[in-house]
Amino acid sequence: MENDLLLNIRDLRVNFDVFGGTLKVLDGVDFAVGSGEKVGLVGETGCGKTTTMKAVLRVLPMPPARVMGGEILFKGRDILQMTSRELGQVRGEGMAMIFQDPTAALNPVFTIGQQLDAAVKYSAAGDKRLSGKEIRQRAVEALKEVALPDPERLLKNYPFQLSGGMRQRVCIAMAVAGDRELIIADEPGTSLDVSIQDQILRLLRGLTDKLNTSIVLITHTLGVVRELADRVYVMYAGNMVEVAPTKELFSRPLHPYTVGLMAAVPKLTGGGIADGIPGRIPDYLNPPVGCRFHPRCERAMEQCRAEKPQFIEVSEEHQVACFLYSQEEEEIQRA
């Protein structure tokens, strides 16, 4: 199992130095993606989802960010220890990121063709040198792959000439063009309408199935994860609080945070909305001691204020970081 992992993050800690102190943002994150696996990462705004994935690509601005510990293994090699040359290779051939806002992700002064060519060129830089013609051909194929009409004309267009949905498709084309092994999609449909988001998700699912690419889908919408992911991580304030196969997580959420999130989602079946989770994400300057969720948790105990809970395996592949379940486990063991 360990060797099959494409991406394995262990105990990652990242701080940000800001005026007035140090923000302790990532507090020991564990995260793994298998080969060909679709993994979801959910949590509220500001809980560290994007920071984690930016650390993987090493695009976090340093300073202010500082990696305090842990390792990020990509195919067994630690990204944090790589030289810039090795890193360039990993970024080009190994993984790609699709950002939330396609308008900001594309450069407004270059044509789609120029940007797509660059994405293809650097993805293939390691093993073979492609001619300009071959590059262009692969760019056209990539645009066809994402179901964009009239690719030849599109390559001459600038980003502002396309609609939001088309821009996001171009970003996806850039990510899939180079046969990369891992695609990190950061809220790929959030800035788009539901009908377009649905199209984008179907497209991502189709392409990753076909190419057997692994994907990490970052989102704050639980429904989106349910549509696409095989396994889901739930993140809160720089900690992973729960991980489970998608079906299991939606039928049996365990962590009080996951339960609260699920209840707050408006349902198509109606019947009103639960009151949500009181309070807001903690201040990272002085995060709560112990479990970072305890100030907002209805079921907080003495222990939660003192110790940080670790992942406990409640059933196969379903892990939760909460003392409520460690007690249960102990009781079962005693009995």
């Binding site: 539901v194 377009i196 429904g223 999130l261 707050a264 408006p266 349902k267 949500g276 807001r280």
Partner: protein
């Protein structure tokens, strides 16, 4: 049956965005709202859904009085809001208030919460003690009194939206327009705001025009729902009926696109329809039924004739050739 508070009849709002030709100077118009009619009953939440660019915010701004309608009429409590010379009656400003989508930009960053919430009170010269009334309003939206002296940037997104709600309620309106009040917020905060809005509605017998693109949210707040596409209404029905029996292909397409969290919800989604295409630019609205290029059940008549609204079932109106 409760009476109608607001009646919108054949409302149109066209914007001139440029000119074509050098001599003739033919104007290029965007038909943001192109002939819509609906009514909001006393004490109900009327939901307006649609994709971005469908014209739902233009409807909100026209109803609240920020835009002068190109044609059509808006009546409040049975009386037209536009008097002689199409000038809008100013006495209704107190009665109709709005909460905007992005609380970050709808609150003045250089004013304290006290100034922001107190401004409508000073404008409309109510004889109440300003201080007490502001405290009351903050209490109403469950914000602590010491927030009076804070500035918007010191607050979280949800708290800012609560300030915006308090400001809207300052003049004791009977009708509040909510223009995507929670789309910029996380679900846990959204839940809190929505429940607050529903409680205030019960307490003060408010009527809401609720605008959102989130159909699942709409299911939980609205009593009646209308769906808009390119400046026209496609379908109107009671909320429960709307989600159980969607008739218009566009409604079905939107419903099938919603990401849901449980199997029971999955059952409600129309299966056969998958979304395709994008909403076209409102400058070039397709001929005939404006939805026909994206419609999975498009027939021969659809590209030629514009369908008219028909009442398929009592209270359930659809604008589609399949039903006329």
């Amino acid at each position: 049956m409760s009476s109608d508070l607001l009646t919108v009849t054949d409302l149109k709002k066209h914007f001139i965005v440029g000119h074509r030709g050098i001599v003739a100077r033919e104007p290029i118009t965007v038909k943001a709202v192109d002939g819509i009619s609906f009514e909001v009953r006393e004490g109900e939440t009327f939901g307006l859904v649609g994709e971005s660019g469908s014209g739902k915010s233009t409807v909100a701004y026209t109803v609240v009085g920020m835009y002068q309608p190109t044609a059509g009429d808006i009546a409040f409590r049975g009386e037209s809001m536009y008097g002689r010379g199409r000038k809008r009656r100013s006495d209704l400003r107190k009665e109709i208030q709005i909460v905007f989508q992005d609380p970050g930009s709808s609150l003045n960053p250089r004013r304290t919460i006290k100034d922001i919430v107190g401004f409508p009170l000073r404008l409309y010269g109510s004889n109440v003690d300003l201080q007490t009334r502001i405290l009351d309003l903050l209490q109403m939206v469950e914000l602590p009194a010491e927030y009076m002296h804070k500035y918007p940037q010191m607050l979280g997104g949800g708290e800012k939206q609560m300030v915006a709600i308090a400001r809207a309620l300052a003049t004791s309106p009977s009708f509040v327009i909510l223009d995507e009040p929670t789309s910029a917020l996380d679900v846990s905060i959204q839940a809190k705001i929505i429940n607050l809005l529903l409680r205030l509605q019960r307490e003060f017998r408010l009527s809401y025009l609720f605008i959102t693109h989130d159909l699942s949210l709409m299911r939980n707040v609205a009593s009646r729902v209308a769906i808009m596409y390119l400046g026209r209404i496609c379908e109107v029905a009671e909320a429960a009926e709307f989600f159980r029996n969607p008739y218009h292909p566009y409604t079905q397409m939107l419903l099938s696109s919603i990401p849901v969290v449980s199997d029971e919800e999955e059952e409600l989604k129309p299966k056969k329809i998958t979304s395709r295409g994008e909403i076209p630019s409102p400058v070039n609205i397709p001929n005939g039924c404006s939805f026909h290029p994206r419609c999975s059940q498009c027939g021969d008549t659809c590209s030629g004739d514009d369908p008219v609204m028909v009442e398929v079932e009592p209270g359930h109106l659809v604008r589609c050739h399949m039903f006329s």
